[in-house]
């Protein structure tokens, strides 16, 4: 039971990362490979806010959310908008977003150096709960609550609000959306902002969870996030959410029953197996975008 919970805590962070990743893909049909750099950036910035500025971790979460949104706007403006209308915009956007991500990481390294950074010892509340032999810390509850809350909020936004309708219209047919009076550029930029805000919160939550930030943390989560959104079905929010939690559980059980060096083999092997059974992913549509 303890292991199941641990898997869910880690998995909810993967899911939060992946849901932002898949949002841009679902709406704009573009993979934003700078997403992981936003994640890493926010982990470092979160630690700086808490360690150097003395902010409480509760305030650090909304602060990096806003920062992530701003980075999302930068990524859209720098890496994607100039390529709009090119025939190779898919591929070009992939490359230019890798470049922007690389620049973010270089700036991070210049500011924080190559070493692992940690939170000060007294940053986290020491409260924890015992429930039927299972120990949960307040911090874990916060991680789970924030990521689930943001994911449900996103689902509400996409399915029930005016902005969400605009996003889905742009996803299905940008030309029709423009004809109807939707400002496609603005909806696009907003989608990037939301996506990166979620990626940023995922970054600071993971920094809380493992009490550290490293330059390489983005590479690990990027691979996991890609795997999760492919398995969940490209562009499916529900798929990213369930896929992320499934990956968290698979990792924990792999460590528990097979051995920690087998963690990635088991976890990715499982995802691979799912794809063999359902090539379009768990919640993927068979039909691809209409042209």
């Amino acid at each position: 039971m303890q292991q199941v919970l641990n898997g869910i805590f880690a998995g909810s962070i993967y899911a939060l990362f992946a849901i932002g990743f898949t949002l841009v893909f679902g709406v704009l049909d573009r993979l934003n490979l700078a997403h992981a750099a936003v994640f890493t950036t926010s982990a470092y910035v979160g630690i700086e806010l808490v360690a150097d500025l003395g902010l409480s971790i509760w305030l650090a979460i909304p602060a990096v959310l806003v920062m992530g949104a701003v980075l999302g706007l930068v990524i859209e403006r720098v890496a994607f908008r100039p390529l709009k209308g090119r025939h190779d915009a898919h591929f070009a956007g992939l490359i230019s977003s890798i470049a922007v991500g690389g620049m973010f990481l270089a700036l991070l390294q210049a500011r924080y150096g190559p070493d692992t950074r940690r939170f000060p010892a007294d940053a986290f509340p020491s409260t924890d709960f015992e429930l039927g032999g299972v120990r949960i810390t307040l911090l874990q509850l916060v991680i789970l609550g924030v990521s689930l809350g943001l994911m449900l909020g996103l689902a509400y936004l996409v399915n029930r609000t005016r902005l969400g309708r605009g996003m889905r219209a742009v996803a299905e047919n940008p030309h029709a959306a423009a004809v109807l009076g939707v400002n496609v550029d603005r909806v696009t930029a907003t989608t990037f902002a939301i996506s990166s805000a979620l990626g940023a919160v995922a970054g600071v939550l993971l920094a809380f969870y493992v009490n550290s930030a490293q330059m390489t943390m983005g590479f690990n989560i990027e691979l996991k996030g890609l795997a999760v959104i492919i398995v969940g079905g490209m562009g499916s929010l529900k798929g990213a959410m369930i896929g992320g939690i499934a990956l968290g559980l698979a990792e924990v059980f792999a460590v528990q029953y097979v051995g920690s060096s087998w963690r990635d083999v088991v976890a990715f092997g499982l995802l691979f197996g799912i794809l063999l059974l359902r090539p379009q992913g768990l919640f993927g549509a068979r039909q691809v975008r209409e042209v």
Binding site: R162, R168, A169, H175, A176, A178, V179, L180, G181, V182
Partner: protein
Amino acid sequence: MSDPLLSVQGLCVSYGRVQAVRDVSFEAAQGSLVALVGANGAGKTSVLNAVAGLLRPRQGKVVFDGTDVTRWPAHRLVDAGLVQVPEGREVLATMTIQENLQLGGWHRRSTADASIDEMYERFPVLAERRDLPAGALSGGEQQMLAIARALVAQPRLLLLDEPSMGLAPRVVDEVFRVIEEIRQSGTTVVLVEQNARRALRAADVGYVLETGSLAHSGPGHELLTDERVIAAYLGID
């Protein structure tokens, strides 16, 4: 006489080196129905898309209600009351009928709901299926949805691009009946059609496009009996 609601002056549209529209000028008076007819590839849709802000004209001017709107993007024109029903209807197939209509009211936040209710009264077939995806509708019903969706935007000028394309004759009658109603209600309409006879019969003023240029213009009923127009576009029946 008052100024026309829409005035297009010397419009040129190019795709790369290919010039699709050459020096086209036309007007639509307040409350009138203007038809743009011509063969496939004559440039009708290019003219309409340039007016609607969906493509940039190489030269020329589009004046809407006294304002030069030539370089305005589509969303701004919709907000100003210039709304297009695109060729091929372009309903959002995976979204519900209700959501399609709500998108039509993108710029009409406070009054959209009332307009949507009005559309449901006018098109009961849409009301019955409001929670179904628009892709579940037949071609004719999708055309009605596309028109209703544009009307939710409360246009002063409605651009209709080939509304009868691919529809059964009975449904075409229905579409033209709706267009007539829209004009009756005071909305100015610019209609692009390959079904030239039908369009000219409905129109106050007609313009005939020929390989990107204006060939003839005049009152709709006069063009219908114009020997040159008959020879080129209407055939003999």
